[in-house]
């Protein structure tokens, strides 16, 4: 088989809230390949955040197992400190967690706790800032609170990168950013992926947004894994996605409408370029 870095087998998680029990994850089995970029997609409450919180031991399985690079995260004697350096996690609205007086100090916080040498800390911080597009000469000594929302979020990402994780988990990393902030964030993420070969796990409710980056999508609904596949294969589901409270990407929606109206469009047409080629051709032949 392939080289999987994260494996869950029949993973279930039940929250206890007062006298009530809520099954947040039900029998989830999946494999994430080393060095790939995957996205966990689902509506609010589908269990996507609960799922990824198992990857660095924030939650332990109620049933089933979670293996991260061969380590059983559910076992009692797992070394959480090492695990969490290995699996970097960026939470929702991470800019809310910035607290230091300078960008440098904030990014250095993690490496300092790792008791690295000053020189090593400095190297890592500067590299991390470079990777997220905040060159040190311009940004390192500014207060993180003077930066824009998108920049602050990238400072938070740099803080995680400076720990040199081999797996990067990002929970809704672009919620609340505008179009250019999003594009910037994803372009730096793509860059980090190519340069550092980290495995990236994105959590999102917007699959259109992650389509260009992710190799594989996992669709969650009401605690279950209901679909997995390449973005192309998942988007081909069209209106069926609405059942899981997901909006089909606008272009897939257009294709579905055109097919309904009797136009034959190959099922592998996916990007604007591909659809353009098909329609231009059929437009000319139709006239």
């Amino acid at each position: 088989m392939s080289d999987a870095i994260i494996v869950t087998q029949h993973l279930s998680h039940t929250y206890q809230s007062g006298p009530l029990q809520k099954a947040a994850l039900i029998d989830v089995s999946l494999e994430i390949e080393r060095g790939s970029c995957v996205a966990i997609i689902g509506f609010n409450g589908s269990g996507k955040t609960t799922l990824v919180q198992h990857f660095n031991g924030l939650l332990r399985p109620s049933e089933g197992t979670v293996l991260v690079d061969g380590v059983n995260v559910g076992s009692g004697n797992v070394d959480l400190r090492t695990l969490r350096q290995h699996v970097g996690m960026l939470f929702q609205f991470p800019e809310g967690q910035l607290f230091e007086r300078t960008v440098f100090a904030d990014v250095a916080f993690g490496p300092r706790r790792m008791k690295l040498s000053r020189r090593e800390i400095r190297t890592r911080v500067l590299e991390a800032l470079e990777a997220v597009g905040l060159p040190q000469h311009e940004y390192a000594w500014r207060s993180p609170f003077d930066l824009s929302g998108g920049q602050r979020r990238r400072v938070a990402l740099a803080g995680v990168l400076a720990m040199r994780p081999s797996i990067l988990v990002l929970d809704e990393p672009t919620v609340g950013l505008d179009a250019s902030g999003r594009e910037e964030f994803y372009s730096y993420l793509g860059h980090i992926r190519r340069e550092q070969g980290v495995t990236i796990v994105l959590v999102s409710h917007d699959m259109t947004e992650v389509a260009s980056l992710a190799d594989q999508l996992f669709v969650m609904y009401e605690g279950r894994l209901v679909l997995e596949g390449t973005p192309r294969a998942v988007f081909a589901q069209g209106d069926r996605l609405r059942v899981w409270r997901l909006a089909p990407p606008p272009l897939s929606e257009l294709l579905a409408l055109l097919r309904q109206r009797g136009l034959t469009i190959p099922s592998d047409a996916f990007t604007v370029d591909e659809v353009f080629a098909v329609l231009q051709h059929s437009g000319q032949s139709g006239r």
């Binding site: 505008d178 179009a179 250019s180 902030g181």
Partner: protein
Amino acid sequence: MSASPLIDIQHISYSYPAPKGKKGEIQPVAALREVDLQVQQGEYLVLLGHNGSGKSTLARHCNALLLPDCGHVLVSGLDTRDTSKQQTIRERVGIIFQNPDNQIIATVVEDDVAWALAVRGLPTEVIRERVDAAMAMVGITHLRQLPPHKLSGGQRQRLAIAGVLALRPQCIIADEATAMLDPLSRQEITLLLHQINQEYGLTIIQVTHLLEEAALGQRVVVMEQGRIVLEGSPATIFADLERLRALKLAIPDPIELADRLRRAGVALSASAITVEAIAQEIVP
């Protein structure tokens, strides 16, 4: 233009005050520069622009949340600077924000809708009637007894809208009200605002950075650096994608596709700017 506008923005400028203790060090940045805009009763207006373009600042001048440094804002003839009129102005022009949690107060849905009415001391029967009507308008009647934290993001945004509707305003401003929602809820809230506009004749001002939300508006006003830089019907605004890109707005794939097809000689009208309209014109 016909009758006097509901909201009349006359040549206003505004700068956010410099943070305390830093006065003199930081020049206040002009958020609005000499803006003129009239909004008619019953209109569906979209204020479009990227973050920091001034669209939210402008919207917040429409119900006296912010007051202009110079120029005037009149809401059905009342000057927003007149402190004795501000309560009336805010009843006429309600606003909902990005995060519905910031305007949800009570512990039960229907109590929350009733809140602003109860504070104003309206009789119980009136409150009951208005709360029921407002919940029905946004489709949350079945959730009336639930605590707000049990609702989804989209449902909570509906609750925030109901709370504003209960005051029987003439205009609702949706200030990036869909930005924190998932794509499906985003579409649903935009459709709801349209429905409220169509069925009840309420004026809607939708503030957004998403082109797809602007496509359904009657009029689109695009802002950049505190100024109105483009204004017109969605079809005219969408005709120049290069310009919109330069204004840091993301072009949805179907719009991009339609534009390329037009250039390639496929007969598509300028008003084909929604997925449905494009499909209809490609295969009549």
